[in-house]
């Protein structure tokens, strides 16, 4: 239950060592660099944005090559990719590969180069195929397509709109022929809306013919090929085949290059790490021969840093006092069990200045309430077993993910506990199966009681657990007040409330409302009843008359006190909020029973099959929905009811300068 104490270090060293020292800090990953130091005449920042930009570009280029490889040689990402985490490689292997980074860069460039070649070829093929399409109408022509270049005669080839017959053409040509010009028209082919024609005439007449034709919408087509259409198409097709061979060669080469994938990943991460380093470097204050760097280090690691850096390089490490209002980063440290719930706290906000880390206290309530809401031994056991298997199978998964899963492991254990208390094993599976398939009804006894038979009793206990939760929260608030020596707040915000609420509860217990809920009458001795009234009145009076005393204006103070007293309605709604423990617990059990009931509708062998299907499908669904519900509402009880009493969570997470990678984790020897 603690926020780790931070120390502010500043390291002053020789400029020649700065890269080595930064490397060391980055590898250790225990220092958060702050860039608070200001430039002056001696110490100035050095612009390294060009180098950093280069490194970023390298990383991006490598990523692009990886994408290309993935495109050519698709590797299906595993279904459990998010669980597997990054690949772990040894420092030695890492250094070995990075030593050859020039070669890897060549491979990366080569991959991009041949990919570009391939797309060029593909574009070329498309172009050639279009050419074939445009030549196809001329296939029946037995002349070179650029025949027009003859000395005396000319071929005017092109297309006319519409599906024309020879008579139509002759009619068009009649006008030309009437001028005494000899022309030989040919219809080469027809498409749906065009007629491809070729006219042969003397070269000197071709202009007149073309003019006449153009009045009918003639488009002249020129081709550069000096072979017949047939031969031209053959030639183009051969070219296409050659290009396709080249493409498949490239694709095969890509498959061969795929063996480099791991190296390229390491290459990409190497440049990511360097880019981060240069980011820090760009904020580093440097004089002509020295540099200075400052940042936060958890107290427990200060000696490590000193040992690794001060003793190996000529430098000086100072511990600076931390300012009272300084925004120190927060790192949590908790026992093995509670640390798993740190993710929950993270989702709300880390402890800010003067706040304590509530994780440890919260973690026990968390598992407790979660189990009560899911409250089925079967489901709980299943959750815990699945988590155990997953964490064993994927040892490299990220720390956050591992903690979250382990949290569910403990919540599962708690669920088993509550399942046994309430007699829920996949709902009423045991009685249903034993009755339907074995003829005798075996009812596993609830260790405590069955909620559906006595929901009022569980409601009272739910509210009671809620009260304990809320009082704990109020207690922590008191602890914080005392720690900050805010004694007035301690008395007004904590003690008076305890007194008044205790009195109110003592008054409520013997009342008839409570008796009807509990179905049992409780009678206190007379002095307890008097004490209850005294406590309630004293607490209320304290809140009304004392808690508002923050200025000299009596009326305002009283109004403030009255407003504080009005906070009692909040307490009421907060306690009632814990009734969800009952409602969600019942929901799990009853829906599970519905599933079992539906499953047991058949009989004989068919009945067993129906039951198994209904069991698998129904319980999976019910478990999923109730897991979600239990998770959401346990969080709510912590965030709103519990944290509402004492916690703001304005802290900032500790982000050490370390090796931030995308693909691999380098493990130090």
């Amino acid at each position: 239950m603690a926020v780790v104490q931070m120390q502010k270090l500043s390291i002053c060293g020789l400029k020649k060592d700065r890269r080595a020292i930064l490397d060391k800090i980055q590898t250790m990953g225990i220092m958060e660099i702050n860039h608070l130091l200001e430039e002056d005449e001696v110490f100035q920042k050095v612009d390294v944005s060009k180098e950093k930009g280069n490194f970023d570009k390298m990383a991006v280029t490598a990523d692009q090559s990886l994408n290309l490889l993935q495109m050519y040689v698709p590797k299906k990402p595993s279904k459990f990719a998010s669980l597997e985490g990054k690949e772990v490689i040894s420092e030695e292997k890492y250094n070995h590969i990075i030593h050859k980074k020039e070669d890897i860069l060549k491979v990366i460039k080569h991959i991009q180069h041949i990919d570009k070649e391939r797309s060029d070829y593909k574009a070329e093929i498309v172009k050639l195929e279009n050419n074939i399409e445009s030549i196809k109408p001329w296939l029946s022509l037995d002349l070179p397509l650029n025949f027009a270049d003859n000395v005396h005669s000319a071929m005017i080839s092109g297309m006319l709109p519409g599906k024309l017959t020879m008579e139509d053409i002759n009619r068009i040509m009649a006008k030309v022929e009437s001028l005494g010009i000899a022309v030989e028209p040919h219809i080469v082919s027809r498409s749906n809306d065009h007629t491809y024609v070729a006219f042969f005439a003397l070269r000197k007449d071709s202009e007149i013919i073309e003019d006449t034709l153009s009045t009918r919408g003639f488009t002249r087509l020129y081709y550069a090929w000096n072979k017949t259409p047939r031969d031209t198409i053959d030639e183009i097709e051969e070219k296409i085949v050659q290009l396709k061979t080249k493409i498949s060669q490239i694709e095969m080469e890509m498959v061969a290059l795929d063996t480099n994938r791991e190296k390229i990943r390491i290459f990409a991460d190497y440049y990511r790490i360097r880019s981060d380093k240069y980011e820090v470097l760009s904020h580093l204050l440097q004089s002509s021969n020295t540099f200075v760097i400052s940042g936060y280090v958890p107290t427990m690691y200060v000696d490590d840093i000193k040992q690794e850096i001060e003793q190996k390089y000529d430098c000086n490490i100072d511990i600076d006092p931390i300012n009272k209002n300084e925004d120190t980063p927060v790192l949590l440290s908790n026992n093995k069990f509670s640390a798993n719930m740190e993710g929950v706290l993270n989702a709300y906000g880390l402890p800010g200045k003067g706040e304590i880390d509530p994780t440890t206290v919260m973690s026990f309530f968390y598992a407790f309430f979660f189990g009560m809401m899911l409250s089925d031994a079967g489901y709980g056991a299943l959750v815990s077993i699945v988590v155990l298997i997953v964490t064993k199978k994927f040892p490299n998964m990220g720390v956050g993910m591992k903690k979250a899963l382990k949290m569910f492991f403990w919540c599962g254990i708690s669920t088993v506990f509550w399942g046994v208390m309430f007699g829920g094993y996949f709902g009423d599976l045991i009685p249903v199966v034993s009755y339907n398939f074995f003829g005798t009804e075996v009812i596993p006894p609830a260790l405590w009681f069955t909620p559906l038979e006595n929901p009022m009793r569980l409601l009272v206990f739910s509210l009671l657990f809620g009260l304990v939760h809320l009082f704990t929260g109020l207690g922590i608030k008191g602890y914080i007040c005392l720690k900050q020596k805010a004694y007035f707040d301690f008395v007004c915000d904590v003690v008076f409330w305890y007194v008044m609420l205790a009195g109110l509860i003592l008054m409520l217990i013997p009342s008839s409302i409570f008796a009807s809920i509990l179905q049992a009458e409780v009678t206190f001795p007379a002095f307890v009843n008097t004490l209850a009234i005294v406590l309630a009145v004293a607490g209320a009076a304290g809140i009304l008359f004392v808690s508002g005393q923050r200025s000299k204006n009596f009326g305002l103070n009283l109004a403030r006190g009255a407003y504080n007293l009005y906070g009692i309605t909040r307490w009421l709604s907060e306690i009632l909020s814990y009734s969800r423990l009952l409602a969600l617990g019942l929901a799990t059990g009853v829906i599970a029973s519905v599933v079992n009931q539906m499953g047991s509708m058949g009989s004989g062998v068919l009945g067993v099959i129906i039951f198994i299907v209904a069991f698998l499908f129904g319980h999976t669904l019910n478990m999923a929905i109730n897991l979600l519900g239990a998770y959401v509402h346990t969080n709510r009880l912590q965030f709103v009811e519990f944290f509402g009493k004492f916690y703001e969570g304005t802290g900032r997470i500790f982000e050490p300068f370390n090796r931030k990678t995308k693909y691999i984790d380098v493990k130090e020897d």
């Binding site: 559906l452 009632l576 009734s579 009952l582 929901a587 829906i591 519905v594 959401v632 969080n635 709103v640």
Partner: protein, 160 residues
Amino acid sequence: MDLWSNLGIVYALIGAALAVLAGGVGSSLGVGIAGEAASGVISEDPSKFGKVLVLQLLPGTNGIYGLLVGFIVLAQIGLLGGAPADLTVQQGLLILAACLPITIVGWLSGPAQGKVSAAAIGIIAKKPDQFGKAMLLPAMVETYTILALLISILAVTALA
């Protein structure tokens, strides 16, 4: 006259039917609203599927709560195996009344929760790391559904 005095079990069944019906309608409206927002986010970034799915599902519980009350009523009036209970008109109406909280709240809170879910999905689109907070906002609406569910359950079980 005879018909009117034998309507007890009919009223009870209407109560059960209403609870399931209204809860289901409320949930499907809510899940629908959230689903539209979820699809929008996934079209931009499919990797957020897991997170937005959870948020889309949050308004889905009303239907479950309705089913829960409906099921308890059916069990109480003996319609699930065994002979139907002999209910007077008054008993039937009492059960019908007991079903009303979850009926009405489940119906109306569904779309309300769906809207908050849709907005919370917007949080995920912009700040995926704020999942914890995004999830909590729709759960606030659910509190009142749970309170209604509680009274319905307590009333139905007490009437048996």
